[in-house]
């Protein structure tokens, strides 16, 4: 059993509070990803869990035991650093076996464990090489191998893929997922890349400015973002945001204004929107459809053809720029006039504070079972 619990954790560097009261549950064998923009505190949070930084206030519990004052190694954790942090003067086998050597484990036992881990990661031919003789991807695997040898309760990853080139990153993502499946161990992973978060995580923790914005499964965050920040952060290309207003309200639905004057009826929970309230309308590029009868009209400024899809940047009436993602065969040209239709069930509404207006229905994939119920944010 390896659970991690954070209770109102705060961290100050001097006068500057980096982590402002974070509470979180990580369940046994979960793959949790901390994601957020630079400076949001995700790496600091990871280092607090690891024990490499002191907590200013709050508690960190591992398997229900308070570990604030316990040294990193004694917490039963292992960490893979962004720069791999391999010991340059030791070869691969010695790097991986270092923790066992410190624990005075016998040479045979050490060799056996190192060989096991090397086998999982296909590092056997490299065991006698020094780090400077390895490629980036190989060094990263050695860093992971070093962690595996320790047989920790929880693996910690600090942006491990950011120093790799794009193709290698895709490959390593797949390997990490398979590794998690094979080892069945709790993993906490930090990244700024929302694609990594979406593909790897059982549960994503979105951080900004030292607080948790939302916690949930990837699909939950994608289909039901709690606020403007999460909505704009998850999903690429970014969600489109339009200024709008509640033209009329009736029980369970609100009519909002669209660029060019048209109106759209959106189903919402009763009593959540007042008449005349100013709202932000959000819709993802891939959900906007090209339609001759579309309620919104505009001129295509730029066409980006990726082959797999086509991105259209459309200036609509009123001056807003919308990004539309459509299929690769789309024949639209620059400067063409197009009609856009916004399906009401794909529209997100956010109030003046940026918080989402709750909808009555949930997307089916949002509640696909992960390990245990997704826990709420602070």
């Amino acid at each position: 059993m390896a659970t991690v619990t954070l209770k109102d954790v705060r961290k100050k560097f001097g006068d500057f509070e980096v982590i402002k009261g974070v509470s979180l549950e990580v369940l046994d064998r979960e793959f949790v990803v901390f994601v957020g923009p630079s400076g949001c505190g995700k790496s600091t949070l990871l280092r607090l869990v690891a024990g490499l930084e002191e907590i200013s206030s709050g508690d960190v519990l591992i398997d229900g035991v308070r570990v604030n004052d316990v040294s990193p190694a004694a917490r039963g954790l292992a960490m893979v650093f962004q720069s791999y942090a391999l010991y340059p003067h030791m070869n691969v086998a010695e790097n991986m076996g270092f923790s066992l050597r410190l624990a005075r484990v016998s040479r045979e036992e050490r060799d056996r464990k190192v060989r096991e881990a090397a086998h999982i990661l296909q590092l056997e031919p490299l065991l006698h090489r020094k780090p400077r003789q390895l490629s980036g991807g190989q060094r990263q695997r050695v860093a992971i191998g070093r962690a595996i040898v320790r047989n920790p309760k929880v693996f910690l990853f600090d942006e491990p893929l950011s120093n790799l080139d794009a193709a290698l990153r895709v490959q390593m993502r797949v390997e990490l997922t398979r590794l998690h499946d094979a080892l069945q161990t709790t993993m906490i992973y930090v990244t700024h890349d929302q694609v990594e978060a979406m593909t790897l995580a059982d549960k994503i923790v979105v951080l900004q400015g030292g607080i948790i914005e939302q916690v949930g499964s990837p699909m939950e965050l994608f289909h039901h973002p709690r606020n403007l920040f999460v909505a704009g952060f998850i999903g690429s290309p970014k969600m489109n945001f339009l200024k709008s207003g509640a033209r009329s309200v009736r029980d369970g639905a609100v009519r909002v204004g669209l660029p060019g004057g048209a109106e759209l009826e959106v189903l919402v929970e009763a009593g959540k929107v007042a008449q005349g309230a100013s709202l932000t309308l959000g819709i993802r590029p891939e959900h906007i459809a090209l339609s001759a009868q579309g309620a919104v009209r505009g001129e295509v400024l730029v066409v980006e053809r990726l082959g797999t899809s086509t991105l259209l940047h459309v200036r609509v009436e009123g001056g807003d720029l919308l990004t539309v993602s459509t299929d690769g065969e789309c024949p639209v040209h620059m400067h063409e006039q197009v009609g856009l239709s916004l399906p009401t069930e794909r529209v997100h509404l956010f109030d003046q504070e940026g918080v989402v207006v709750p909808r009555p229905s949930r997307h089916p994939l949002a509640d696909v079972k992960v390990r245990g119920p997704a826990s709420g944010a602070a």
């Binding site: 650093f81 942090a85 270092f98 410190l102």
Partner: protein, 274 residues
């Protein structure tokens, strides 16, 4: 010959001319060391001659004085460097990895002690040594050199320790290393080249030091600087042997200097130029 090759050829010629001109006095001295005394003072000076090892033989084996002074030089240089390292490693470790708000000030203060002109404190040091019986005692000179070099040694070790990526030490902690393991198993092996250069520089500075060694020593503790200086009255018959003695005295340091050139810059400019 194309333009680049021609430029390179001219540069080579000029550069080598300059280099040989600058190095010339040392060459000349080296040559003199292989001449007989008569040839050494011959006019016109001879460039070609039949070399002899009699001077080296005489200096190394004939004059017990020389070997004694050479031993003193070794004792004092290596000894003071070892002592300085012993004191400096813990200090540099503490300052590099557990810095406080005052660490930078402390480093600057340490360096500033090096700016005190030796001559300003000649009198008190001389008197203290005289009254404690340390005049003409090897160990006394060793202590002075340790103190004189300590700021540079601390500073250089500090800057080398700071170059060890902190993640590597953190990874060590995650693997269960305590402070002692960290220093012995991770830090020292990684900082070893830096420690070696620091040691070389300290040895060089001590070996060549020519103020305290001339004023605080006598026949018993005299290092090579003093030995050579004792030949300052012009006695023509000694030149070949003096050259041999000098060549022997400077040869090891020329090698050390060559080995540690790059780190020297850092040490001698207190890090202002890297």
């Amino acid at each position: 010959m194309n333009r680049t090759v021609r430029k390179k050829a001219i540069t080579t010629a000029v550069a080598w001319l300059v280099a040989l001109l600058i190095f010339f006095p040392i060459i000349w001295m080296g040559l003199a060391s292989f001449k007989t005394e008569i040839e050494a003072v011959a006019t016109p000076p001879r460039l070609f001659f039949s070399p002899t090892l009699e001077n080296y033989r005489d200096v190394a084996f004939g004059r017990a004085n020389y070997l004694h002074c050479a031993f003193n030089s070794i004792y004092v240089s290596f000894g003071s460097t070892a002592l300085a390292l012993l004191i400096a490693v813990p200090a540099a470790y503490a300052m590099a990895f557990f810095p406080t708000g005052r660490t930078k000030d402390m480093l600057l203060w340490m360096l500033s002690t090096k700016f005190m002109p030796a001559v300003g404190v000649l009198v008190p040091i001389y008197l203290i040594f005289r009254d404690t019986g340390l005049l003409d005692v090897r160990f006394g000179l060793l202590v002075v050199y340790t103190l004189v070099n300590l700021p540079i040694v601390v500073w250089m070790l500090f800057s080398f320790f700071k170059e060890v990526p902190p993640e590597i030490l953190e990874a060590g902690r995650m693997d269960g290393a305590h402070a002692r393991d960290e220093v012995l198993l991770l830090l020292l092996p990684l900082a070893l080249p830096g420690i070696a250069s620091t040691a070389l520089l300290a040895i060089i500075l001590s070996w060549n030091e020519a103020f305290w060694s001339l004023n605080l020593t006598g026949p018993a503790a005299a290092p090579l600087t003093y030995y050579i200086a004792s030949f300052s009255s012009p006695e023509g018959l000694f030149w070949a042997k003096l050259s041999a003695a000098s060549t022997l005295a400077i040869a090891p340091i020329l090698v050390f200097g060559w080995l540690s050139q790059k780190q020297l810059v850092r040490g001698l400019t207190f890090g202002a130029v890297k």
